[in-house]
């Protein structure tokens, strides 16, 4: 039976194809001891030294990489501690951010709140569209266009974030202002849409820009997962008399769920850490506010680092590093969970294949 997915597997894409992971390319081809069983030649010991050197080099590179991750945590903590010691406020519970003042007082609450709020809003906007895009490419578009269409969407991810930021302030801001006024006028009873008549450079604008930036990440990973749904499951649904949408609900979405969750978490991680686009579009303030339509109602950790770095004192830099440490911790947790979900799914897919 022809495999519906075969012509479209794209190993070059960032997504992990189960077949690549379990293709066994990395499996040991010869038992480690076999070299010793071979008849020794004059150069055998030299060759074995070569092997040992090369093996150590590659292992060293791998350990270096692990070391870098550990070092990131260690150095951020080390540099953040003096500032945290000088802090006259409470880092974990204060809303305000005045690390350059004497005495310095700063807390992470407003920044962490704004980071999470803008990212969650971005996710809420990007997720449905990304699912639509992924399904369109995997199950609706004519097969021969699927590759090029996927590539076009991937191009969204290639645009540098600073360009999104620039486009965000000079193009999108005016349009979001109009939308904001509309939302306030007609849906003002929703707490999120409260405002005093001034719009623009708001959390909403930042969220829309973030949504556009994470859309291709979620869409392309989900698309890969949807393309891996076994043809047998899809045919089972169709043969029962399911429409295309019913087939997708019965066979595609349940199979793709873990992968979609992983992809969404990766998108969330990206939104949480995005710096420059937010720094450009947002009018910052250290507040905990749900007024997402107005300027000066929030800030994010990453954007704040970029905006304050230039004028920061030594303590100010330490404070920014401390906030960066919080961001690192949050994104690390999100990413580890995302990867764990994706890895589990791969085991499942590999085991049943």
């Amino acid at each position: 039976m022809p495999d519906l997915t075969a012509p479209r597997a794209d190993a070059a894409a960032g997504a992990d194809t189960a077949s690549a992971a379990y293709g066994g390319g990395g499996a040991p081809l010869l038992p480690g001891s076999s070299a010793g069983d071979l008849p020794r030649t004059a150069s055998a010991s030299g060759q074995r030294r070569g092997d040992r050197v090369f093996r150590s080099l590659s292992l060293g590179a791998g350990l270096l990489l692990l070391g870098v991750i550990v070092a990131i945590g260690v150095f951020l903590v080390y540099r953040a501690l003096p500032a945290l010691r000088d802090n006259t406020g409470s880092f974990l519970t204060d809303v305000g951010w005045d690390p350059n003042a004497t005495p310095p007082a700063f807390g992470i609450v407003a920044l962490a709140f704004g980071t999470v709020l803008s990212s969650v809003l971005a996710l809420a906007m990007a997720f449905p569209v990304a699912m639509g895009v992924a399904l369109f490419i995997s199950h609706y578009a004519p097969r021969r266009f699927a590759g090029p269409l996927g590539y076009v969407v991937d191009l969204l991810a290639a645009v540098p974030s600073v360009v999104y930021g620039l486009w965000g302030i000079f193009f999108l801001n005016d349009r979001i202002k109009g939308l904001s006024a509309f939302l306030h006028d007609h849906l003002g009873f929703v707490p999120l849409f409260r405002a005093d008549g001034i719009y623009g450079r708001s959390i909403l604008l930042a969220s829309v820009v973030l949504a556009i930036m994470i859309l291709p990440i979620i869409a392309s990973l989900s698309r890969e997962v949807f393309l891996q749904v076994p043809a047998a499951n899809q045919e089972a649904a169709l043969a029962l008399g399911a429409t295309r949408w019913e087939m997708i609900r019965m066979a595609v979405l349940p199979f793709g769920k873990p992968g979609v969750i992983g992809a969404t978490m990766l998108g969330l991680g990206r939104a949480l850490g995005e710096t420059i686009a937010v720094a450009l579009v947002l009018s910052p303030a250290f507040l905990v506010s749900f007024h997402v339509l107005e300027p000066g109602k929030g800030n994010t950790i990453a954007a704040n680092i970029a905006l304050q770095f230039g004028e920061a004192t030594a303590t100010g830099r330490g404070a920014l590093i401390a906030s960066g440490l919080v961001l690192f911790a949050i994104t690390l947790v999100v990413n580890v969970i995302a990867r764990a979900v994706i890895y589990r799914r791969r085991d499942f897919a590999g085991g049943s294949a």
Binding site: G25, G26, L29, V133, Y140, L166, W245, E246, R339
Partner: protein, 348 residues
């Protein structure tokens, strides 16, 4: 359910009817916008799409039944989602070209911003281009060999828990925010070792971002090399490391190069880590090893922050230059993948 199904035939909405519904939806919306205070192209499209979806679903429900109506509804929704996703792409590209064209001149590519104030006309991004080229070159020189070695370890040598751990953390590392990479180099190299801002420091920070990308793409490519090639080489008594260097890596080379190009495109556009480690400068600094340097994305960020039309125009031109570089790298990588894939199929 035991009732006889007398016919297989069902009412079907002809394509013409769908087109008519679409035309009516558009007409109604235009009228609505003409007669009420509603305005704006995005709003118009949104309202028209909603009316179309509702009308088509209602009509399909009557003629084709609820299941097919739902199917039609989802099909329309999914197609609209795809079109919606294309809007920002073309908007960003189109607007950048439009705004960037004004200063896309010889002066931009030959002059720096030395003694050019925000309100001053003229000036250019030469210093930023130098910075970008040097920083990205340093990053690539550091990341590619190390990344390749890690990939070789994972695919060729690694087994058991350590290799799995490294692999997992490579993936996790791809998710580290770029600003955190910048803060790391700031804490370790600039504040810790007191090295000062420099293009090299930016290269270090960008390497933290590029390394995992190189590892992942190279790993995928090395895995595609058929085991039979390795076995043939081992059978000739060629040691493992020579097999890797002479057989495996050359076979995977086109794919690896593609991965490198995409990684280069990715780090070329990074702003935040460069800001924290090279700081930015208005003048030309040819040395990446001493003193602050600018880069194209950093120049976009800093010029855009000046809020003067002359500065913003320069920001747009720098953005246009940046997009051109990134898109060309992406397209080349895409073409290379296609060629190497055809080649691989041909040799099979």
């Amino acid at each position: 359910m035991t009732t006889a199904a007398p016919t297989l035939r069902r009412g079907t909405l002809p394509l013409l009817a769908v087109a008519a519904v679409a035309a009516c939806a558009l007409l109604v919306t235009v009228l609505l916008f003409a007669l009420t205070p509603l305005a704006g192209v995005p709003g118009l499209v949104l309202v028209a799409a909603t009316i179309f979806l509702a009308a088509q679903t209602a009509l399909a429900r009557r003629i084709e039944g609820s299941r097919r109506a739902k199917d039609r509804f989802v099909t329309a929704l999914v197609s609209l989602a795809f079109l919606l996703a294309l809007v920002p792409l073309f908007s960003v590209l189109g607007y950048t070209v439009q705004e960037g064209a004004a200063r896309f001149d010889v002066e931009f590519f030959t002059r720096s911003l030395r003694s050019i104030g925000a309100r001053d006309a003229g000036g250019g991004g030469y210093h930023a281009i130098i910075g970008t080229v040097e920083q990205v070159a340093i990053t690539t020189l550091m990341s590619v060999p190390i990344g390749l070695l890690v990939a070789v370890y994972i695919v060729e040598y690694g087994r058991g828990r350590l290799a799995a751990t490294i692999r997992f953390f490579v993936d996790v590392m791809t998710g580290i925010p770029s600003i955190v990479a910048g803060l790391f180099v700031l804490s370790f190299w600039i504040l810790g070792l007191r090295q000062g801002f420099s293009g090299f420091a930016a290269g270090l920070a960008l390497s933290v971002l590029m390394l995992p990308i190189i590892v992942r793409s190279s790993e995928e490519m090395l895995k595609l090399v058929p085991d039979s090639l390795r076995e043939a080489s081992f059978a000739l008594g060629i040691p493992r490391w020579k097999t890797i260097l002479r057989i495996v890596l050359p076979t995977a080379l086109p794919g690896i190069v593609t991965g490198i190009m995409l990684a280069v495109a990715r780090v070329t556009g990074e702003t935040a880590p460069v800001l924290l480690t090279a700081f930015g400068a208005a003048s030309i600094n040819n040395s990446p090893f001493s003193g602050p340097q600018s880069s194209l994305p950093l120049m976009v960020f800093q010029q855009a922050g000046d809020a003067q039309e002359t500065a913003v125009n320069r920001a747009w031109t720098a953005a246009l230059t940046l997009i051109l570089v990134v898109m060309v790298l992406n397209l080349l990588a895409r073409l290379l993948t296609r060629r190497s894939r055809i080649g691989r199929q041909g040799s099979r």
